[in-house]
Symmetry: C2
Subunit: 205 residues, 2 copies
């Protein structure tokens, strides 16, 4: 089987890179073609319109996400740790596709949102079957989302902020929560709410 035409992939690479670096607004067909090293006509041969280019990115994203799900399910560290650890990175091809798709989010164009939500839902299903407590599974999803959001905020030049946790710290805390829940037993799921962030001080009644 001959290798697939490289031009298509180069165009998608450039499209993603420009979306992340310069945003959707400046990511014009001209700019993508130039960054990919092809002419605009050449680009439009592979992707007949801007919309088709977006669809190509979303299809690539789904393919990469499906492959990632397989790795997640079979990770020796467990799906939860795998999910948290990989959420911290913004380097893998899947991360780049996710970041790029995020730049295309808009309410009036549901396609991108649907794909991202679908990937999200798949992750949750794996977490849900791997972690005993559904609430903990959902919390892990939130933490992963939060780490991913931090990746969208951080630029190349800005150093790590004080609020940026490292992966080991997060894994440790989640592990502690999982063990705490296991100890309290599966039957007890509803605890009375208590104010947080006021060490040892009782809230006013």
């Amino acid at each position: 089987m001959p290798p697939p035409p490289a031009a298509r992939e180069k165009v998608l690479d450039a499209f993603q890179r420009l979306l992340i670096e310069r945003g959707a607004r400046e990511t014009t067909l001209d700019a993508v073609a130039k960054a990919a090293g092809v002419s605009k006509g050449g680009l439009l041969y592979h992707f007949g319109s801007r919309e088709a280019l977006i669809e190509g990115l979303l299809i690539r994203l789904k393919t990469q996400a499906d492959a990632d799900l397989v790795s997640m399910k079979s990770a020796t560290e467990g799906p939860a740790a795998y999910y948290i650890r990989t959420s911290a990175s913004a380097q893998t091809p899947l991360d780049l596709s996710l970041l790029a798709a995020t730049r295309l989010l808009q309410r009036s164009h549901p396609r991108t949102r649907e794909v991202l939500a679908g990937v999200h839902e798949q992750w949750y299903k794996v977490l849900r079957s791997a972690v005993g407590d559904p609430a903990v599974a959902r919390l892990i999803m939130l933490i992963g989302d939060g780490m991913y959001y931090g990746a969208t905020l951080s630029g190349a030049e800005s150093g790590p902020s004080a609020a940026a946790p490292d992966v080991g710290e997060v894994l440790e805390l989640v592990d502690e929560l999982v063990r705490s829940r296991e100890a309290s037993g599966p039957g007890q799921m509803t605890l009375p709410a208590r104010p947080m962030g006021q060490n040892r001080a009782e809230p006013p009644v």
Copy 2:
């Protein structure tokens, strides 16, 4: 003191709404002017350029964030619970500003990212002084970010997904973690890592 000119605020409102609904690409000066009910010339009187319009949005965002910090510090439920609870909403004026600014993120334009990172840092400082354990404070930041990211993903028509937790559930889990940490004492901060997501099963060696 006469009320400040309403046109400026109406323009900023329309700018935010369009950024959220239709993305940065379709949020042109024409579209903003039309949505705000003014002419393009009228818009450009208040904001002399597209860049000035963005700066106006960021200034509004900082003002709203500063006001929110005051509420956060004095919340009777405590800063941590306040932070988590308000992160779930995407309805307040501050939420709209945050969502809109997110649509403007791009690496080559550091200004938006700096403002968002600054707001983030302020939140962390309050959490840090309210929660005993810095690692827990950082985890709460992540959870809030994750809830906010979920808000950027969810559209108006799509129902809540299975992976979407409610606020009470999250508050309960964080509360449990805080109490678990308090019980184990402040001195013990480093625990050996252990695989997660594999209930009671030991990982292969």
